[in-house]
């Protein structure tokens, strides 16, 4: 009897989840829909309007250097991801496994970053990067993005490593492993699921970051993708379809990428929170 009830309940819940999911996705569907409209029905107040056309994509891709902006985003994001993972894993290793004297103070200090809202750092970062001559340069974004991402990664890595039995490290040391070999051959592979999680999350946040990019990348060829719509919203006032084609070009690759890696992402998250 109870199983019958459970099966019925399951059907209802799945139906509700599905309905809600469709509503949830309306803004994204709307974006795609407008990007496929002709100028004539661009302002049609319905979710879908026909006929569909891909002309808008052709217009924006031929008229604008979108590839350049895409590459800017890719360089900044990839460099940030690598930096965060490298620096954070080294530091977590030193804190959690080598347990250097004063490590707890270092850890506490780094944690301060987690409670600093970026909005409070924008003015000083603009001043600092101006003095360094890093305005309109890749390091101008890679540096701050990494600095803001590293502490979060350290927290996750450290928590994971703290649970690891210490005798393995002791054994490795007695076998004559150097600390670097221990890091490179044992610790880093051990962290792999979490590295997937941290890397994907860092990728998403850096790729989409807007505030600092707005302030640091002021010259056109250096702008990252999130700054592009502002550039063109005036230009395509009369043809929103083209503007929304740009929005799709910006948003869809990351969404697709997430769909592809979501398994790794969720597994990393569960690994980080479950194991132990």
């Amino acid at each position: 009897m109870q199983t019958v009830l459970r099966i019925a309940a399951r059907r209802w819940v799945i139906a509700a989840l599905t309905l809600f999911a469709v509503i949830w996705l309306i803004p994204d569907l709307y974006m795609v829909s407008i990007s496929l409209r002709t100028p004539v029905n661009a302002f049609d107040p319905h979710l879908l309007a026909f006929p569909l056309t891909i002309r808008n994509y052709w217009i924006v891709l031929t008229q604008n250097p979108l590839l350049r902006f895409f590459l800017n985003s890719l360089v900044v994001t990839a460099a940030t991801v690598v930096t965060v993972i490298g620096v954070a894993s080294l530091c977590a290793y030193a804190i959690s496994i080598l347990r250097l004297r004063g490590s707890q103070a270092v850890f506490a200090l780094l944690l301060v970053t987690l409670m600093v809202p970026l909005s409070a750092l924008v003015v000083p970062l603009a001043a600092l990067l101006g003095r360094l001559g890093w305005i309109n340069s890749y390091p101008g974004l890679i540096g701050p993005y990494s600095a803001l991402g590293i502490p979060f990664a350290i927290v996750l890595f450290k928590a994971f490593l703290d649970d690891f039995p210490t005798d393995i490290h002791e054994a490795a040391m007695l076998d004559g492993c150097t600390t670097w070999q221990l890091y490179w051959r044992v610790v880093l592979p051990l962290l792999r699921p979490l590295i997937g999680f941290v890397g994907i999350w860092q990728f998403i946040t850096s790729w989409n970051e807007f505030f600092l990019a707005l302030v640091i990348m002021t010259r056109n060829p250096m702008k990252t993708l999130p700054l592009v719509p502002m550039e063109y919203s005036g230009m395509y006032m009369a043809n929103p379809g083209a503007l929304f084609a740009i929005l799709c070009i910006i948003a869809l690759p990351l969404i697709l990428l997430y769909v592809l890696v979501q398994r790794v992402f969720v597994r990393g998250l569960l690994e980080g929170s479950v194991k132990g």
Binding site: L17, L90, R99, P124, F211
Partner: protein
């Protein structure tokens, strides 16, 4: 209650161990090289800016651009500005609405997905997370279109049910901030959901089985078993929600730019207005310091009253 489920970790202390063995003092201190890069990034891009902003907030500039010592003048100016209080009100509304609503919707979604779906689990987990992955600039422009009077689909939908708005939700003094908060909730609820999914999965299977045998299900299961066991997730979402609120910027900047008449001003746009549009670095720094104080104060309160667990997994209980 143990905390072993929580997605949080104790800022624990472990004594320095005599590892590695038989190292000279020089070799041992060389090991600090592993920590130096992280500290360098922190010092340059977080520590130094914090000190700079505190120092700079004590100066003001004349119309000719010369800076002079202003003491607490910038702060006095802030406290007398109605816009500052409006911003503070908006941030309070933002946090007080966004955080609980996201936790409730995210928690319900997580529960429904983890308890009731099998084959479609990955699909639902992904679909609800899509807004988190969608670029916030894109979200801002799409929602502007949704909210648009006359041709926006929200208006069209409301007309279907016989409701006609004769004003713009984003353009009106009284509704702008709420219209923005709705978008923000939509954007970030998937994140809360995923955190709860992680929390639910960290609960040992036996606890569910035992509860079922005891006849606890639905509301009772949630109230007496799940919610207490998920307290770690709640705490991290609260902390992240507060920091997230204080750094709100792109949505507001792109959709209303704090308007109309400062009605939707948030700290991010307020700082941008004075720091970059108007070039009042001292005043913008003073606002930044207020943001830092609020963040530190609220974090401190949270640690004081809810414990020192911090974002990650098991607390050492």
């Amino acid at each position: 209650m143990t905390e072993e489920d929580s997605v949080l970790v104790q800022v624990g202390t472990r004594d320095a161990m005599d590892l590695p063995l038989n190292r000279s003092r020089w070799r041992r201190s060389a090991l600090y090289l592993y920590e130096i890069p992280a500290l360098a990034f922190f010092g340059i891009f977080v520590g130094y800016p914090i000190l700079w902003v505190i120092y700079t907030s004590l100066f003001a500039a004349t119309v000719h651009g010369a800076t002079y010592w202003a003491g607490l003048g910038n702060y006095a100016e802030l406290l007398q500005s109605p816009t500052f209080w409006m911003t503070l009100r908006n941030m309070a509304l933002w946090g007080l609405i966004t955080i609980p609503v996201q936790m409730i919707i995210g928690g319900l979604l997580a529960y429904a997905i983890e308890q009731y779906t099998i084959r479609s689990k990955a699909v639902f987990r992904t679909v609800y997370f899509v807004p988190v992955v969608t670029s916030v600039v894109v979200i801002a422009i799409v929602w502007e279109q949704i909210y648009a009077p006359y041709y926006g689909i929200l208006q069209a939908g409301l007309t279907e049910i016989g409701l006609h708005l004769n004003f713009s939700l984003l353009g009106s003094y009284d509704t702008a901030i709420f219209a923005l908060i709705i978008v923000n909730i939509w954007e970030w609820t998937g994140f809360s959901m995923l955190m709860y999914i992680a929390g639910l999965n960290a609960i040992p299977r036996e606890i569910f089985d035992a509860s079922h045998i005891d006849g606890a299900s639905g509301w009772r299961l949630s109230r007496y078993v799940l919610i207490p066991l998920l307290s770690g997730v709640n705490k991290s979402l609260l902390l992240l929600g507060i920091i997230g609120t204080l750094q709100t910027f792109p949505l507001v900047f792109l959709m209303t730019n704090g308007g109309p008449d400062n009605a939707s001003q948030v700290f991010g746009t307020y700082i941008f207005l004075h720091g970059f549009t108007e070039g009042q670095t001292g005043l913008a720094s003073a606002i930044s310091v207020v943001v830092l104080i609020l963040a530190a104060g609220l974090t401190f309160l949270q640690i004081r009253y809810l414990g020192t667990q911090f974002l990650s997994r098991k607390g050492d209980a």
